[in-house]
């Protein structure tokens, strides 16, 4: 079956512009995560959705970042007034149910490589 997909795979934008990054999770997965990975670093947690609601958005760096998941499947990460420091790979992951201590695996998408000039 299809895995997690992300579009676009690459995005180049200019400082100050607005961007939207899309994530299509595996069908039926209720939990969805966004991470940011800078070169040579591990993924950094941004936000977690359970269904349509953001259950934990404590990783969003500032109010320029916002994410939605209106119908509980596809999610969009939105970045306003982009800065050069936002350049990174943005990863999305989904899992069948929330990890309630049972160790449900997260399935990662290929990422969107964002470059802010």
């Amino acid at each position: 079956g299809a895995g997690v997909s992300q579009t676009p795979s690459n995005k180049v934008t200019e400082k100050g512009k607005y961007v939207e990054l899309r994530c299509d999770p595996i069908s039926g997965h209720t939990a969805l995560y966004w991470y940011r990975q800078s070169l040579g670093q591990g993924p950094e947690f941004l936000i977690y959705f359970q269904g349509t609601g953001a259950a934990d958005d404590s990783g969003l760096p500032n109010d320029r970042f916002f994410a939605v998941r209106p119908e509980g499947s596809v999610s969009t990460l939105k970045i306003q007034r982009t800065e050069r420091g936002d350049s990174a790979v943005y990863l999305c992951a989904s899992s069948p149910i929330p990890d309630r201590g049972l160790g449900e695996t997260q399935y990662f998408g290929p990422g969107t490589r964002l470059l802010v000039l």
């Binding site: 939990a31 670093q41 591990g42 993924p43 977690y48 990890d99 201590g101 695996t105 997260q106 290929p110």
Partner: protein, 110 residues
């Protein structure tokens, strides 16, 4: 904030040798994950460790967890070139907030 430290950050080894990657974390957690990432690719789940003393093995890789020491290890036995990749550990906090280490870049030389 939970901190996760891996060492070494870079590891170059010969085929056939054994080595261990270490993952220390700063706050109590009972779930630890290991992932593999190939260059330009996304992360692939390797192991989930759920309890103190848990040990899991897959091929030449074996992972263990000591929750009292807040330490997990990933042991590589008789390394082969195909194992070359970056390996990340991740710790779960408050159920669904995951903290990743910086990764260990492994290069297995033929």
């Amino acid at each position: 904030e939970l901190k996760v430290e891996q060492n070494p950050l870079f590891l170059s080894m010969q085929e056939g040798k054994n080595y261990t990657i270490y993952c220390n974390y700063s706050t109590t957690s009972d779930r630890l994950y290991w992932y593999r990432q190939d260059p330009g690719k996304s992360l692939e789940s390797l192991f989930v460790l759920l309890s103190n003393g848990a040990v899991k093995q897959e091929g030449r890789l074996m992972a263990s967890l000591d929750t009292k020491a807040r330490l997990s290890t990933l042991h590589i036995t008789a390394a082969v070139h195909d194992l070359s990749a970056t390996y990340f550990c991740a710790v779960a906090y408050n159920f669904n907030k995951f903290y990743f280490g910086s990764g260990t870049k492994l290069n297995v030389k033929p």
